[in-house]
Homo-oligomer: 228 residues x 2
């Protein structure tokens, strides 16, 4: 394998972390008139992993090493990364694993990533893997042939029931994220409300969505119940 694509991917991860930090600082702390403070985070391509796959890829007894906590309590980016191989010898390097481990492995890609990997991925809510493609996953201790579970994550917003009441939405309702920007304004629609007592209010979009609207330089973001 050549070294240059790996270097590009690693640096891209770094940039994406910076973007997330900037966004976090920009948009989190603004609760004015009872409106819950809104966090919007860009998820770079990543993998959720089962314990069985973790051991196959990183060796018997392997554990995920937390690298950076994520906004939702208990979630973290791990130090571990994998490489993905798609059809026709295409690869994506240094895809980060998020922890903790889950019952099912799942790989989340933006469409730009999936085009680079040569896989046509469907949009799915997390955990719904019916009819989704797989790929080969390489780790330092071995490889697995993931039969399915490669998806583009459906854009969604985590919230608790007080947030849901504020916005007037129920679990599964689509919402709009209005992004104000001098040159790249966008309304990202179809953001599915995911309600749970432990969730903190946080919109998750992918890199295509974040780059479409140049989120780091947005002058305002607003979450709304979907307009009919």
């Amino acid at each position: 394998m050549s070294r240059s694509p790996t270097a590009v991917q690693v640096d891209r991860d770094r940039i994406e972390r910076i973007v997330r930090d900037v966004v976090a600082n920009r948009f989190a702390p603004r609760s004015a008139t009872g409106r819950p403070p809104l966090m919007v985070n860009i998820s770079a391509r990543h993998m959720h992993i089962s314990r069985e796959h973790l051991e196959q890829l990183f060796g018997p007894g392997a554990e995920l090493t937390p690298f950076k906590p994520l906004y939702q309590t208990g979630e973290f980016a791990s130090e571990q990364t994998v490489d993905l191989i798609g059809p026709r010898r295409r690869m994506l390097h240094s895809v980060r694993i998020l922890g903790p481990t889950r019952p099912q492995s799942q790989i989340e890609l933006a469409f730009t990533d999936s085009i680079a990997l040569g896989i046509d991925v469907p949009v799915r809510m997390s955990g719904n893997h019916e009819g989704t493609p797989g790929c080969i996953v390489l780790g330092p201790g071995g490889h697995i042939v993931l039969e399915r579970g490669v998806v583009r994550a459906q854009r969604h917003v985590h919230m608790n029931s007080a947030d849901a009441e504020y916005y007037g939405v129920r679990n599964g309702d689509p919402m709009d994220l209005v992004v104000e920007h001098p040159t790249c304004p966008v309304v990202i629609r179809g953001i599915i409300a995911r309600i749970h007592a432990n969730f903190k209010l946080e919109v998750h979009i992918d890199t295509d969505e974040g780059n479409c609207c140049d989120l780091p330089r947005a002058t305002g973001v607003r979450l709304e119940k979907e307009r009919k």
Copy 2:
């Protein structure tokens, strides 16, 4: 140079052409109630080139070879491609040149491309290069150090004055592209109207914008004067 990234880029170009064809077939031929037929095209990263730079990169007397006509009359994708080098040894391979030649060279990247290249590119209308970054451009016959002209193209729509009258817009007005989709609906705002007698009605968005809304599988697109 390693071969694998080049292979990825070339295949990506091919996929993006297919996307453009699908979109053209899907959305062009639908004029119902006097509404002008709307073409929406995704521009993959590309270069416009001056005659001087063409000769520096491809040799004295070089001419662009048409590879495929574009929708606007006289415009074409050429057979020629270049490689771009950004800071920190990052490269983008096989960036296609569009013809005919122009007075000024200009490179148009999506933000995802610019992150991969390590350049922070501003959003600009075509031809406005003040304060824009440059990069190194490699051709088979030499290289140039482009001092400026690397931009993200401001999303825009070409139209003639009859189209402009239909939509009630003037040159430079922002418009909305409403994209209907089962899972990825988006309203892409800030699409600038560019009016000229020879223009055919056509929206130009980049790959981040097209991937954000999964344009090839959109169930409908509608151009509107921007809502206040």
